[in-house]
Each structure stands twice: as C-alpha cells, then as structure tokens.
C-alpha cells in the first residue's frame, strides 16, 4: 500500500520533480489555500485601517496636571448634626478646588466647632487644605487654636505651625512643636492631641510647663 495514498498522481521520476510538485498536491492545496490567504489579507488590512481610524487624536499628555477646576470667594460652610444643630463652620477668604485629587486649598481658613456639651474650638491659620473626602482639614502657617473651658476660666490658647482637624471625629492633632497659654501657665510640647469628646488635650514629646505664682 503506498504511503501517501492521499495523492492521486504518480510520484514521477527524477526528470520532473518540480513539475509533478506543481500539479501534484501543491496544485490541490492552492485551490484550498489561495482564497484563505486572500481573505486573511483582507481581514488584516481592514483591522489595520479600522484601528488607524479609531486612534484618538494626538492630545496633551494624559496625566491630569494639578489644575484648579473651580474656586469660591468668601467660602462659608456649616455642617449640621443629626438633630439639626450646627456642629461646625468652615470659612475661608478663598477656596480653590483641584480636579485631579479632589482636594481644596483654603486661604485664611477659620474653623469653629461647637455643640452641646462640647468645648467650643476656634482654629485659624494662613492656609488650609481640605482632604478629598473632607474628613480632614489641615491648617498651615501661624496656626492658632482657642478652646473654651467647660467651666469658667480663660480659654486654652494654642499656637503652632501645623494642625490637622478631623471635624467628624472631634479630634485635632499635630506633630509640630506647640505653645499653649493655659491661664497663668505656659506649656510647650513637641506634639499635641486634643479630643473634644474626652475633653482632654495632651502634649507629648518632652513637655515643659512654666507657671507664675502671683501673691
């Protein structure tokens, strides 16, 4: 039995191997392969042309630069608690919002936290930054925080270079040196955490307090 029974022509002698090859299996194959090649070529051509057409027009670099998308003059915002009582106010001479990271810069921000059973806190600074989801407000440059006493007595007067407020968590923290005037006392610390709920204010790092004793 001949090995390649699939091919009908005889193998031919040495004289015409090329000729026999053309009208041998290759000729059958070309009936089969040629249309495929043509169609394939067309497919490649059309996809290439399609891609060429869809290519976006050459634009500015795709990464968004830190450009403002809007600003507000004399910005004044008030947040209310569940029972409708005002919880805090945030005002600024100017608020500039940035699209790429959804943060906002504030000029001369002023933050007032008040409410039942909470020591009233006022924070002011040269500049401020509101985080994307708005859960922190950073105060930067000449920061001053005044915290009223629950009972009588002068408010706690704090100055530092940087302060981060978490309005919804009633927390104010800084890792910068802090000076506090507390009545006749003057306290210095390397970091500070003030918790409105626990009504405490804690300085850490090596702290130093100086108290006058007037007679």
């Amino acid at each position: 039995m001949r090995a390649d029974h699939a091919c009908p022509g005889h193998l031919g002698g040495a004289t015409g191997p090329l000729r026999s090859m053309t009208d041998g299996p290759f000729q059958q194959a070309s009936h089969f392969w040629l249309p495929l090649v043509i169609v394939g070529g067309l497919v490649v051509l059309t996809t290439w042309l399609g891609q060429l057409a869809e290519q976006p027009l050459p634009q500015a670099p795709t990464v968004l630069r830190h450009d403002p998308d809007y600003f507000v003059e004399n910005f004044n915002a008030t947040a209310y608690d569940v029972s409708g009582q005002p919880r805090y106010h945030l005002t600024a001479v100017r608020l500039t919002h940035y699209m790429d990271d959804d943060t906002a810069d504030l000029i001369a921000p002023r933050f007032v936290r008040e409410g039942a059973g909470v020591a009233r806190v006022v924070v002011r600074s040269l500049r401020g930054v509101v985080s994307a989801n708005g859960d922190t407000v950073d105060f930067i440059g000449d920061v001053r925080m005044l915290r009223e006493r629950l009972q009588d007595g002068p408010p706690i007067d704090l100055t530092t270079d940087y302060l981060r407020a978490y309005p919804d968590r009633d927390l104010v923290v800084t890792n910068k040196p802090v000076l506090i005037k507390d009545g006749g006392g003057q306290l210095r610390g390397a970091a500070m955490q003030a918790d409105g709920k626990q009504k405490t204010l804690e300085l850490s790092g090596r702290v130093k307090g100086i108290y006058e004793t007037r007679h």
Partner: protein
C-alpha cells in the same frame, strides 16, 4: 529658701494632659518640678491653677523626692514619700506614705510628715491612712560646740 514661693514654677515631663473637667494639668513620666531651690521629682504631678497662678500640686512616685536649700545657709532639706501634696499658697508640703525627711542632718521617719517651707519646721503625724504602723522615728544630730556657739546671737 523663702524666696522660692514667689518664683515661677517650672515642670518638665514626658507628657502633660489638660483635663477640663477637674481643671488640672497632669504631668506624667520623669516629672521634674522646680521652683527656685525647691525641686521635686516624681512619676506624676497633677497641677491645679487658680486666678493667681499655680495653686497646688500633687505628686506621686516610687517615691517622690524633694529637695530644698535652707534659708541663708548652705544646707539642704531632703525628703521623700509615696505622695506629696504641695500647697503653693501656704508653702506647706504634706508627705504621705513611708515619709522621710532629712534637714541638715536631722532625720525623721513616719507615715505622714508635714513640712512648712516658711518656718522650715516639720512635724510627723501618725499615719492613720497609711499601711505602716504609724511609728515615728527621729534622729537629732548633736550640734558641735562651735555650731551651738555660733547659733546664739
């Protein structure tokens, strides 16, 4: 020294917590309390203020150490106890819990010792509120003749 009580108080510590509710400043961690020649070292000092400045301080430690120069002479009072209550107005310090005081060589031990900075006198009280048996032990250093001689005007 007498002038100590008019001097500003300086307190250093690892941390301080301003407590609105009981209007105190709580200093904690290696606390150093100095006022003129008076120095107190403790683990914790609670300071209370009134409108005229520092009113009182309560120190606790293992133990609280106290040291102050005597008026007009180069001798010191040293004392320690578990707790020390200092009234800045009256200049009275109350040492509570294995209290000990050494004033220019004279020693006194007891449950509670009250020291008056103005008069530089101290008295020991039976320690009703303290675990020790309330015994008081004093050692009075004999004065040498020159000292006693010098003391008489």
């Amino acid at each position: 020294e007498q002038a100590d009580r008019t001097r500003p108080v300086q307190i250093e510590a690892d941390s301080v917590r301003l407590d609105d509710l009981n209007k105190t400043a709580v200093y904690e961690g290696n606390v150093m309390f100095t006022q003129g020649t008076l120095t107190i070292t403790a683990d914790r000092v609670d300071v209370r203020q009134d409108d005229k400045g520092l009113a009182s301080g309560e120190a606790t430690g293992q133990p609280v150490f106290m040291r102050q120069k005597m008026e007009g002479r180069d001798e010191y009072m040293e004392a320690h106890g578990k707790r020390a209550l200092y009234d800045a107005r009256t200049g009275i310090v109350k040492l509570i819990g294995n209290a000990y005081i050494n004033q220019a060589g004279d020693e006194l031990r007891g449950g509670v010792i009250v020291y008056d900075m103005r008069t530089e006198r101290y008295q020991a009280q039976g320690a009703a509120d303290d675990s020790s048996k309330g015994r008081i032990r004093a050692i009075i250093r004999p004065r040498t003749t020159q000292e006693t001689g010098a003391a008489k005007p």
